[in-house]
Symmetry: C2
Amino acid sequence: MTPSRPTVSPAARALLERSAEIHDLQNAAALLSWDRQTMMPPGGHAGRGRQLATLAAIVHERWTDPGFADAVEALAAEAPPPGSDEAALVRLSRRALRQATAVPVDLVKALALATSEAQRVWVDARERADAAAFAGPLAEVIRLRREEADALGWTEHRYDALHDTYEPGSSKARLDAVFGPLRQRLAALIERVRDHASDVDDGPLRVPLAPAAQEAFVRQVAADLGYDFGRGRLDPTVHPFCQAVGPGDVRITTRYAERFLPTALFGTMHEAGHALYEQGFREEDLGTPLGTFASLGVHESQSRLWENHVGRGLPFWEGRYAALRAAFPGAFDDVPLERFVRAVNRVAPSFIRVEADEVTYPLHVILRYELEVALLDGDLAAADLSGAWNEGMRDLLGVTPPDDAQGCLQDVHWSMGAFGYFPTYALGSMMSAQLWEAIRRDRPDLDDEVREGRFAPLLAWLREHVHAPGARYEPDDLLRRATGAPLEADAYLRHLTAKVDALIDAPADA
Amino acid sequence: MTPSRPTVSPAARALLERSAEIHDLQNAAALLSWDRQTMMPPGGHAGRGRQLATLAAIVHERWTDPGFADAVEALAAEAPPPGSDEAALVRLSRRALRQATAVPVDLVKALALATSEAQRVWVDARERADAAAFAGPLAEVIRLRREEADALGWTEHRYDALHDTYEPGSSKARLDAVFGPLRQRLAALIERVRDHASDVDDGPLRVPLAPAAQEAFVRQVAADLGYDFGRGRLDPTVHPFCQAVGPGDVRITTRYAERFLPTALFGTMHEAGHALYEQGFREEDLGTPLGTFASLGVHESQSRLWENHVGRGLPFWEGRYAALRAAFPGAFDDVPLERFVRAVNRVAPSFIRVEADEVTYPLHVILRYELEVALLDGDLAAADLSGAWNEGMRDLLGVTPPDDAQGCLQDVHWSMGAFGYFPTYALGSMMSAQLWEAIRRDRPDLDDEVREGRFAPLLAWLREHVHAPGARYEPDDLLRRATGAPLEADAYLRHLTAKVDALIDAPADA
C-alpha cells in the first residue's frame, strides 16, 4: 500500500502522500517524546514542550487542510470493494479526519503545552510523593480534555469520546458490562488466594542483582523472543514504554530494580511484546493508515501474551532456568525451578499496577477507570484524588498505599492527558487469554516449542493473525478472525482460575 | 527579545512568533539528527531520512509564506535605530529569508534525501575504507549543492554562495588571501619542526585506558570548565559534534580511543567549548534570530580556545595532572608533568584532521578547501577524490594515508552536503588566538586562574564579549568589539611559533 505501488489510483496516491507526511511528523514527535523520557536533561523541558506543541499544531493544520478531506472522498467515490485495502483506507482516514478536525487548533496547542507541563510536575511530585503538587496541572489537563471530548462529540457519555480514540468501537457502557462481573469474579478468586498467600514465598526474587547483569539477561530474552535490535533499542526509563519512532525503529524501555528481577524481566518481555507487534506490520503498509495497531487493547494483548502466557509459564522456565542461573552466579542455586515459577506467579494485593500479579492486575485498572470517569464528570476534584485513590485501593484490594508515589502518582498516563486509556490494559489482558487458547488449538506442541526456546512458530502465528493485518480490521473483527469469537472474558477467567488453582493445590513453600 | 516582552511592537512580535515556530521545527530536526548519530538503530535510516526531509520542507514552506516577508518588512518600516535589537532582527531575518526562499522546495527535499542517503553510505564506506562506494552518493550531493549555490546566487565564485551561509561576509577571495600566506608560514614552521619531531615522544599517551575511566575523567573536565550537564549531555559517537536541540538542551558527543586519551580528552574539551558558547546565549534571546551563533568561525573559536589555549597549556596541567594520575592509576606515574605536556603538544604530520596537532591542523583544512572548490567547479570528479586527496596530503604534509578511511572518508561533512564549511575551522583557530591575546591583556592573572581550576573568570569574559551578543554582530564586527581589531592571522602565527619554539628549545625526551 505504498504511494508508488503501480496499481494505486491517483486518489489513493494523493491520500497516501498526505498520510505519509503526517506520519513523518508524528514520528518526529514520537522521537521527541521518547527522548524526553530517556535522554533529555532537565533543562530541556520547556523547549521540548514548545516543540511538541508546534508539531501537534502542524499535524492538526495538515488534517484540517480541505485537500485532505477531498482526497479521502475522492477515494471513497471510487467505491472500493468492502474488505479491500482501499476501503480500509477510507474508513481509517475518515475516522482520523473526524477526530482531528473536530478539535480547534488552539485546544490542540493548549493540550500539548498543558500535558508537557503536567508531565514535568508529575515527575517531581512523584519523587516527593506529593499529590497536592500535581493537583493544579492535573485539573488543567482534565479541563482541556473535557473540552476536547465535547468537541469530539458523544451521545451516551462524555467518556466515550476519549475512550473510543484508544479503543475503536468500545464505550463506557461496554466497559461497565464487562468490568462489573469481572470485578466480582476476581474478588472471589482473590478471596480464595488470601488464605493461601503466605504459602507462596517470593523471597527468592528479592535478592540484589547488578543492574548491568539484569540488562544483559533481559536483552538476550528480548532478542530470543524475536525482538529485532537492528530495528530498535532498549533503554532505562522511569515509566517503561514501547515507542515506534519510524518504520524500522521501534524502541523499548525498562527499569531495573536492584532487588527485584521481575521488574526488568517481565517489564522487558511486556514491552518486547508491544514491539513485536509493531515490528510485524507489513513493510508496504508502513507510513500508511493501515500500518499501525488496531487498538490499544490489541496492542496490550501482545505485551500480555509474551509477558504472562509465555514468560510466567512453566515451559518457558523449564527451558531457560539454567541460563538464568548462569547469568546471576549463585543467586538461584538453592531455588528449585518449581519454586521460582511459583514465586513469579505469586498472587497478593499490592500497590503498584505495573508490578501487580495477573489476578489482582485488572482491579488496578478498574480503580483507575472509575476514578477517571469521576474526574471527567466533575464528581471528583483533582485535589481529592489521593483520598479517593486510597479508599478505592482499600475497597478493591484491601490495602492502603503508604504514600502518593505508591498511590495515585505511580502512573504517567493522566499527566499525558490519557483519560480513557487504562481500560485497554484490561481488555488487552482478556484478548491475550483468548488468543492464547486459539494458538494452543492451532499448535498442540506450543509448550514444547516454548520449552525449547523456539518462539518462531508462535511469532509466525501472531504475525499472520494479529500483526500483519495492522489496522485493517476493528478490534472485535480482528479477534473474531483470529479466534473465531468476539472478545469475551471466559478464556481470561479460565486462565486466572487455573493459575490460582495451581498455586493453592501445590504444597506450600518451606 | 521574547515575543511577550511588553515593549515589543506588534510587527516585531509577529516576526518573533514566526521565527519561534521555525526554531521549534529546526530543533526537532536537530534532535532527529543527534539521535541518528548517537542512538538510532540501523533500521531507522530510511524513515529518518524521510522525516528530516518532511521537516525541511515545512521549514521551507514557513519561510516562503508571504506573511513572513511581510512581517520582516513591517518591522523594517518602523526604522529601528542602528545597533538596536530590532535592527539586528531585520538584518538576520532578511538574510535567512533570502537564503530560504531562493531555493525551490523540491531542491530542499532532494537535498535532505540525498544527504541522508549519502550519510548512510558514508558510514558503511568508511568502515570498509572504500571511497569508490561513496563516489555515487557524493556526486549526487555535489550536483544538488551546485544547483543550490546557483539558486542562492553569487557574483565572483559559486563557492561564495555556500561558504557565506556558514560564515557571513566571508568569500573565496578572502580565504585565498588568508590561506595563501598562512600555508607558506606553516610550511616553514613544519620544516623547522621536522628535524626535531623525534625529540618529542608521545608514547606516554599511547597506553591502554578503559573507556569508562576516560569517560568519567572527561565528564569531570567538561563540568569543571563550566559545561552545564543539567542543560546537556555527553554521549559517544563516530564523528563527535555539539548539537543544540532546544533552549536549555545543548548536547555534546565524543569518541573513546582505548589507546589514545587525547581523542576523548581534547575532543570533549573542544565540544564543550562549542557548548559553552550555546549555553551562553541570553535566555531572552533563545528561540529568536538573535539567540544563535554569529558564524561557524566564531563557534570554532570557542572550541579551539578551550581545547588548545586552555587544554594544551602548561598551567592547565599544572593544576590537573594529579587528578589525571588518580583517574588512571599507574598509567602516568613515570611520566613527569613537563613530558606529558610536551606529548600533548607534539607536532608531526598525520592523517586524521580531528587528531592533528595545532600546527599541521590548518593544512588539513586547506586541503579540504582546495578539493571542495575543485569538486564544486567540476574540476575534480567525485570518483577521483581519493587520488587527489592522497596527492594533496603528500604535497602539504608529506604523508600518504594508508587507506581511504584515514584519507578522504574520515570526515562526515561532505556526506551532509557541507561544502564551504571546512574553512571556518581555520578561521576559528585564528580567531581563538586573537581572542586569547585579548583575554590575557584584560586578565593578567589568567595563567594562575587556569592553574587553580578557576575557569569562571575566563568564561565570564567570553560570555560578555562573545556569547551573550549571539548573532547581533557579524563576525568581524564581533571580533573588533572583543579584541579591538578585525580578524588577522598574526596572533595565530605568534601562538604557533611560540609552540614550536617551546618544543625545539626544550631538551629532547629520553
